[in-house]
């Protein structure tokens, strides 16, 4: 019985091997005067919305650069990683086979940690638009973040609150099963308390119990909290706002970038979000001229309103382009040579101003230094404060 299909298996085996080998030698269609920028993100699977945004944002930036008759072109090569570390390393290796010189990636943190280590070994310069976990850049001198790292969001919020709302009675509701949320909370707490301030109430929830917040809200109310910090994603945040409204509790809410998207949430009364403050690097509703231009171009090219990830990737490509131009490296250099030149430029006096921040600078650890943007929701729009 088994013998029968063994041949089929062998035949298909040789078929696939041939394909694999053919794929390996796959040449690139390059005109010889372009910088090959690799992009890695989840283009399929549940996180695909982020990967697609990064790919589109990067492509848009490259198209703009190439249309401006530059000294050298930028060629974007995107690969899918399905938001999986193993697949991400495969995608990275595929890009290396295709001659990638600089990496803009990865999009998400777990794959970014794995790819960061590989890029460090192979000396490929990497600038991630949105992999915000601290492990992505840890120990890797050639991996840089364009976004705030998770803990730094906590610091930024504490600083902003201390400056603008010094008398607020602050309470926190966070998700203790989620690293993003607990990471921000930890750092917020230590920074806030380091300033001699007090957190009046702290309540946690987990992904399994994110529908009913009555207990947490009562605790906030009883402690007299008038500013609730929500380092969480927008879906549980919307539940919190709805239920607080029902119990006639009206504090000021403060969110982080995970709050971005609350206005687009179906079935949510956006009136409840009026006056919500949030820390976000980019909003599509900004009055800012460069943002407006970007949003229009993006909508024209992809028929979709850009999210923060698209803006991050757009900035990444421009930052890489500018830094490369400044570094004096040539597009004919190999990835390792470019890497050293780029590290030197990035950790030097290079600054970049774009959609997601002004005068961004990078330290040796790979973290970005930029002024955080705080927006307030007014009349269903983000208004920069």
């Amino acid at each position: 019985m088994r013998k029968k299909w063994m041949k089929v298996a062998l035949a298909s085996a040789s078929c696939v091997m041939a394909m694999a080998l053919a794929g390996c030698g796959g040449g690139t269609t390059s005109d010889g005067n372009s910088l090959k920028v690799g992009v890695i993100g989840p283009l399929t699977g549940p996180a695909a919305i982020y990967g697609e945004a990064v790919k589109n944002g990067a492509q848009l930036a490259a198209d703009e650069i190439n249309a401006s008759e530059p000294k050298f072109n930028v060629e974007i090569m995107a690969q899918d990683d399905e938001h999986d570390a193993e697949k991400s390393v495969n995608a990275y290796n595929k890009l290396r086979d295709e001659g990638m010189q600089v990496l803009v990636g990865t999009t998400t943190t777990a794959p970014g940690t794995a790819v960061g280590a590989e890029a460090y070994k192979d000396r490929v310069f990497a600038l991630t638009p949105s992999a915000s976990g601290p492990a992505v850049i840890e120990g890797n001198d050639n991996v840089f973040q364009l976004c705030f790292s998770d803990p730094n969001q906590g610091v930024a919020v504490a600083d902003y609150m201390a400056k603008n709302y010094p008398d607020a009675k602050v309470g926190v509701i966070y998700n203790n099963a989620d690293n993003y949320s607990s990471g921000i909370y930890d750092k917020f707490k230590s920074t806030w308390e380091g300033k001699g301030k007090q957190i009046y109430a702290t309540e946690a929830f987990s992904d399994d119990a994110n529908a009913d917040f009555t207990a947490q809200l009562n605790s906030m109310k009883n402690a007299g909290v008038d500013m609730v910090f929500l380092p969480i994603y927008y879906t549980p945040a919307s539940n919190i706002m709805t239920q607080a409204n029902k119990m006639d509790y009206k504090p000021t809410y403060f969110g982080v970038d995970g709050m971005d998207g609350i206005l687009a949430l179906e079935g949510f009364d956006t009136d409840l979000a009026e006056g919500v403050l949030l820390l976000t690097p980019f909003t599509a509703y900004s009055e800012d001229e460069t943002s407006q231009k970007f949003v229009k171009a993006y909508e024209k090219a992809y028929g979709d309103t850009p999210i923060q990830f698209a803006a991050d990737a757009y900035d990444c490509v421009y930052a890489v382009y500018n830094a490369f131009d400044k570094s004096g490296a040539s597009v004919e250099d190999d990835a390792a040579t470019i890497c050293e030149a780029m590290i030197k430029t990035f950790t030097g006096d290079f600054t970049y101003s774009g959609l997601t921040g002004q005068n961004m600078k990078w330290n040796k650890a790979g973290e970005v230094d930029k002024t955080p943007k705080v927006c307030v929701i007014q009349d269903g729009k983000y208004i920069e404060k």
């Binding site: 088994r2 013998k3 029968k4 299909w5 063994m6 041949k7 089929v8 298996a9 062998l10 298909s12 085996a13 696939v16 091997m17 394909m19 694999a20 080998l21 794929g23 390996c24 030698g25 796959g26 283009l43 399929t44 690969q79 899918d80 999986d84 570390a85 193993e86 697949k87 390393v89 495969n90 995608a91 990275y92 290796n93 595929k94 290396r96 086979d97 943190t109 777990a110 940690t113 794995a114 960061g116 280590a117 590989e118 976990g133 492990a135 840890e138 120990g139 203790n176 099963a177 989620d178 690293n179 607990s182 930890d186 946690a204």
Partner: protein, 375 residues
């Protein structure tokens, strides 16, 4: 997938136990399986050395070895013992995380990284085998679908525990917690951080280590299959009542297969973990268990070298299809369906059978002739 039970007239448990049946078939199977592994290793190493094979395929050498080992070890439960297990990724996870912790501890005592790797793999195997024993004792009395459900649940439990497990190391020793709000001492290094998993793993895995793992797994499984123990396991699989009637301890034999399989999966997990700098619990979801089961089913349940080929090909396939860009996963699904149809199609089967029969009979004839000449 239900295994077809073919009751062959002469294969009574007693005859099987004596090893009188199919002795030469075992040899042939072992030969093919070893040959595939060794030749595959040789070809791929040669290709990598000559620069024909790109980074993409080279990067998959270790995962291929790991998946091949997992397919072989799962075959011990699904094919040889005849039980459906849907929790293989759970054992892999247990081995992976305990291997990572062990490797980190060993780094302070042993300087040779290959020794660290070897010891951590053995440790991963032991812990996973222990997990297999603990889960196996109460559940192996269950049959068929029930066992599948319990193993499925086991895999999910392991993943969920890993999601909240924090492990650190400092000068006083190991520290662990089930909630991040219990702070590990500030000067302790975190090894495992809840849902983020392990980060900063030193990458020690190599293709050679991978092939040794696959060969070792194959050696263990084939030897069990070809031993008195293995024949007892298969006798129970084919006819439980008959097995019991001649005094075989059903639970003991099933448990042996289950525990060995779990241990081997843990070993593979420990190697897999040390091929990347990071390891997240989400990797060991139900999907991974099913993926391993697909290797086994596509390779033919109980057919060890079939599983080896299936595991290797299905690992490479999604990568080889990258040129289809947006249609990659669609193409992958279509290819899978086509392979399934082709391998189980009676017309294709019969034509192939005829071809193979012709070839083999010709070889046999020639052998006989040459044998006579020698004689």
């Amino acid at each position: 997938m239900v295994r077809k039970k073919k009751i062959k007239a002469p294969a009574t448990p007693k005859r099987l136990l004596k090893g009188a049946v199919k002795g030469s078939e075992y040899k042939r199977e072992a030969f093919i399986a070893y040959a595939i592994l060794i030749l595959g290793y040789g070809f791929l190493q040669l290709g990598a050395g000559l620069g024909i094979i790109g980074h993409n395929l080279q990067g998959q050498f270790v995962p291929i070895c790991v998946y091949v080992s997992l397919a072989i070890s799962l075959n011990l439960v699904v094919g040889i013992s005849g039980e459906l297990s849907l929790g293989h990724a759970g054992f892999m996870a247990v081995g992976a995380f305990s291997g990572v912790v062990m490797a980190r501890i060993l780094e302070t005592y042993i300087s040779v990284s290959s020794v660290q790797l070897l010891l951590s793999m053995i440790f991963g195997a032991l812990v996973a085998a222990l997990a297999g024993l603990l889960i196996g004792i109460p559940i192996l009395g269950l049959r068929g679908d029930y066992l599948a459900i319990v193993t499925l649940a086991f895999g999910e439990i392991v993943r969920n525990i890993m999601n909240v497990l924090y492990f650190g190391i400092d000068e006083t020793g190991l520290r662990f917690a089930f909630n991040h709000t219990i702070p590990l001492a500030d000067n302790s290094q975190r090894i495992i951080t809840g849902a983020i998993g392990a980060t900063g793993i030193r990458q020690k895995a190599s293709f050679t280590a991978g092939i040794f793992l696959a060969l070792f797994t194959l050696f263990i499984v084939l030897n069990i299959k070809n031993s008195k123990h293995g024949r007892a396991i298969m006798a129970i699989r084919d006819n439980r009542i008959a097995g019991e009637s001649i005094g075989l301890d059903v639970k003991k034999f099933k448990l042996t297969a289950f525990v060995v399989s779990a241990g081997l999966a843990g070993m593979a997990g420990a190697l897999f973990a040390q091929n990347y700098s990071t390891l997240a619990p989400i990797k060991f979801s139900f999907n991974t268990s099913v993926l391993i089961l697909v290797f086994v089913v596509l390779g033919g349940i109980g057919n060890i070298w079939g599983g080896i080929i299936a595991a290797a090909l299905l690992t490479i396939l999604p990568e080889a299809l990258r040129q289809f860009a947006d249609y990659r996963m669609l193409t992958y699904a279509i290819v899978l369906i086509l392979v399934m149809i082709a391998t189980y199609n009676p017309t294709i089967k019969s034509t192939l059978q005829m071809r193979i029969h012709k070839v083999t009979s010709r070889i046999k004839k020639r052998r006989k002739e040459t044998g006579k000449e020698v004689a």
